[in-house]
């Protein structure tokens, strides 16, 4: 079982391996794009690294990053989930309304249970009912949205200060709590996807379900697991959003749907399934979340912000294609 590689060589091999993996899953461009944006951001707005601005930025990015990770799971198994926004709204209002009577812990658990149940419902219909993901989740989105309105028909709820602090305050000075939640969730999800059998099955189910079946696995369970884990991540996103806005809103999740899908695309995942990465997706969400405030600080008029923001997104998505073309040319002339 032993591969004769010296310890340092092995570390290096791991590093290059990891890099190759990230490149294969399309994560390099979004990561680089986010690094560049952060650099530009601090250049035009040196105040970014004040405590309050860091917090604001983290609170802007965190819910989006978590929903995007939930969406990533469904994309990995070869589908697309239209219901994440509605599930987020539902989990949010449950969290906001249950807190008063039962305390934050129980409320969070209830929100989590509700979102996982939503995921399991979608997953069961898709995996065992063999229904198309996009239609199934579109239909279930209306149901979950209606339920959210039933729980709380207008923005409200009572969010104690401790909850706000725990979700969107600071853990220690200069470390926003929201950032810690996202990184924690990211690490756990990465471990699940890359270091457990079910995680590899999730990739395999989207890559080739028939091949997975032929090697003695059941792709349906992998699909179900993806939807369930996705539900849990969506609930966490909802809790962070409720904490930072201090209200529950039955429509709060809606704007997150398209942004989550965009973040997954920006993160380099393949919408045919089987390929995509946690780090790329988080970076994609961070790019999307930062663009708005970056352009605001750059002093660009609000209408133009949309145009330039869109151009940046197209640029990030288009960059790999561009490098491919350039590389192809060079290869031919070699």
């Amino acid at each position: 079982m032993s591969v004769a590689v010296p310890a340092r060589g092995r570390g290096l091999a791991r590093l290059t391996d990891g890099f190759a993996g990230l490149r294969r899953q399309g994560a390099i461009t979004p990561l680089a794009a986010f690094a560049v944006m952060l650099a530009v951001y601090t250049a035009i707005n040196p105040d970014l690294f004040t405590r309050i601005q860091l917090q604001t930025l983290a609170n802007l990015i965190a819910p989006l990053a978590l929903v995007a990770l939930a969406e990533l799971l469904i994309v990995l198994v070869g589908g697309i989930d239209i219901s994440v926004g509605a599930v987020m709204s539902l989990a949010g209002v449950i969290f906001a309304t249950q807190m008063e009577d039962h305390g934050a812990g129980v409320a969070a658990a209830e929100a989590l249970a509700a979102a996982v149940a939503c995921g399991l419902l979608n997953g069961a219909l898709v995996a065992y009912g063999r229904l198309p993901t996009i239609a199934t989740t579109l239909a279930s989105a209306f149901i979950f949205g209606a339920l959210a309105n039933e729980v709380l028909d207008r923005p409200g709820g009572n969010v104690p200060v401790e909850v706000t602090n725990a979700t969107s305050g600071e853990l220690v000075p200069y470390v926003p709590a929201a950032l810690v939640w996202v990184l924690g969730a990211g690490v756990v999800l990465w471990l699940i996807l890359n270091r457990t059998v079910v995680g590899r099955q999730i990739y395999g189910a989207g890559s080739s379900a028939s091949a997975l079946r032929a090697s003695g696995h059941d792709p349906r369970r992998a699909q179900l697991a993806a939807f369930a884990i996705g539900g849990a991540l969506t609930a966490l996103a909802a809790i962070l959003l409720v904490g930072s806005t201090a209200t529950g809103d039955p429509k709060a999740g809606d704007p997150y749907l398209l942004n989550a899908i965009a973040a997954v695309a920006l993160g380099g995942a393949a919408f045919t399934g089987g390929s995509g990465s946690v780090s790329g997706t988080i970076a994609g969400a961070a790019v999307l979340g930062t663009i708005g405030s970056l352009l605001f600080f750059a002093g660009i008029e609000s209408y133009w912000q949309y145009v330039i923001g869109s151009l940046i997104i197209v640029g990030v998505v288009g960059l790999p294609a561009l490098t491919r073309i350039v590389r192809g040319r060079r290869g031919a002339v070699r």
Binding site: M1, N194, R213, H217, A332
Partner: protein, 494 residues
């Protein structure tokens, strides 16, 4: 060791397999032969647990197998290398080897998977496979060896090989036979499905012939000739000899000098009208790249490049079709056909005009040509409107090839068009290729079957490491010379 009794399976109204009995003793290689659509793959899938039979039972060492359960089959020691490669394309080699039958719960260690894969690959003499490589990036032959290797990772009592040699080159086949002999020496049973009759003579102890889903004949080692077997498979006497093309003409239809592309180094070729030029060599030595470069599917450049007398600076597939070239790609299902579209539409794909009619009006207008092509190639189909995915492999390949018939082509490029198709379809394709050449079309034909190159080509160039290692014609064009040049040994003209 393995006994199947009265297996039957229908897909809708179509009977795939009916009342098939099969026994395979320990230490025996049992061949399963038949034309495409005869039910061989269905039988293999039932035995492997990938498909549940409608009736009948399978026993292994006297114990009945539950149907339709791959894992249960694995537990009983039945492993299968499938024809349609069943590897997960986005997984690495190591993951595909390690993640067999793993329960849903459980940790996955990359390092351990890689170490295990290194061991397995070394044990199976497959050191050229990189455990870290992503399977989807590997050439077909490597994927096929990996598929076989994966079937060998378990505690094998019965090994099912469904067309497992279809993409393998002669050394690959020798590798496979060595593995089979290891297994049979240990007392395991091997069921071997293949179209390559030459291989059966070497490896098969007994055999069963299927036709239209039923068992029609049995044979044992030494008691059969290829002609008898073909007759049994086809149900009618079939000629098998490789047809010879008519002499080539003098005019040049395609010429390159100094063709260079990724994986290709300074290739010079001249193809005359009506000439059948074979391309040989081991998989991965640039044959695929050569055809793709000539067709413009791979960026390439050349010092001199002429198609039908016109200079070419840079080629794209669109220009290639316009200049009079045709191409039959490597993977008919992925690169050749739109499987859900109809036979007629697939035939007409290269001839669609951006602003022209489509669908029914187009089919009606081109009906005469479509019918002519389908008849010329004897394509078994219910008509131009049948989805091409419903055809058998051989008939699908005929559709990919048929596109270029009777369309004023100057040269066609064929990438192993007879891979994995049955003997009769193969023969019909040979005839069609020779007929096409007889009409004055130049043919460049890459084949993994040396016999095809030797018997049906005027001239054969053998590639080695992306360059032309040797050019063989006339007396020097022998199977030994082709194989020798393929491994880098240039035979001295005698």
């Amino acid at each position: 060791m393995l006994a199947a009794r009265a297996l039957s399976k229908r897909y809708g109204p179509i009977v795939a397999v009916e009342e098939v009995d099969l026994t395979c003793l320990g230490g025996e290689v049992h061949a399963l032969v038949g034309e495409n659509g005869a039910g061989k793959s269905t039988v293999a899938k039932i035995l492997a647990g990938a498909v549940r039979a409608d009736a009948g039972e399978v026993t292994v060492g006297g114990v009945a197998l539950p149907g339709g359960d791959v894992r249960a089959a694995h537990r009983a020691g039945v492993y299968c290398a499938f024809q349609e490669l069943a590897l997960v394309p986005d997984w690495t080699v190591a993951e595909n080897l390690a993640l067999v039958d793993r329960p849903l719960r459980g940790r996955f260690s990359r390092a351990r998977a890689i170490a295990g894969a290194v061991d397995t690959l070394a044990r199976l003499e497959l050191d050229h496979l990189d455990p870290r490589a992503v399977v989807g990036d590997l050439p077909l032959a490597d994927r096929q060896q990996l598929e076989i290797a994966r079937a060998l990772t378990g505690d094998v009592r019965v090994l099912l090989l469904d067309e497992a040699s279809s993409a393998l080159t002669p050394p690959g086949v020798r590798w496979l036979f060595a593995r089979i002999r290891e297994l049979t020496a240990r007392g395991a049973a091997v069921v071997y499905v293949s179209h390559r009759l030459g291989e059966l003579a070497e490896i098969a102890d007994r055999g069963t012939v299927l036709r239209d889903g039923r068992v029609v004949d049995h044979f044992t080692r030494g008691s059969w000739t290829e002609d008898e077997l073909i007759t049994a498979m086809a149900g009618q006497p079939a000629e098998r000899a490789h047809p010879r093309p008519a002499p080539a003409r003098t005019e040049t239809v395609l010429e390159v000098e100094g063709l260079t592309a990724p994986g290709l180094d300074d290739i010079a070729l001249r193809l005359r009208a009506g000439e059948v030029l074979g391309v040989g060599g081991l998989q991965g030595h640039g044959q695929a790249e050569l055809l793709r470069a000539l067709y413009g599917a791979l960026p390439a450049h050349a010092r001199r490049w002429e198609v039908a007398g016109r200079r070419v600076r840079r080629m794209t597939p669109v220009q290639a079709v316009r200049a009079g070239l045709g191409f039959v790609p490597e993977d008919r299902k992925r690169q050749g056909l739109a499987l859900t579209h109809s036979v007629g539409e697939n035939l007409l794909t290269p001839w669609l005009r951006a602003a022209g009619p489509g669908g029914t009006p187009l089919l009606r207008r081109e009906r005469a040509w479509v019918d002519r092509v389908l008849a010329a190639l004897a394509v078994k189909t219910t008509g131009p409107r049948q989805p091409v995915g419903a055809l058998s492999g051989g008939n699908q390949q005929k559709v990919v090839f048929g596109r270029w018939l009777d369309r004023d082509r100057r040269a066609v490029l064929l990438h192993d068009p007879t891979r994995g198709i049955d003997v009769r379809a193969k023969h019909e394709l040979y005839e069609a290729i020779v007929r096409l050449a007889g009409e004055g079309v130049g043919v460049i034909w890459f084949s993994t079957e040396v016999e095809e190159l030797v018997h049906t080509c005027h001239r054969v160039v053998v590639l080695y490491r992306g360059a032309i290692a040797d050019e063989l014609a006339g007396e020097r064009l022998t199977a030994d010379a082709v194989v020798g040049a393929a491994v880098g040994r240039t035979a001295v003209a005698s």
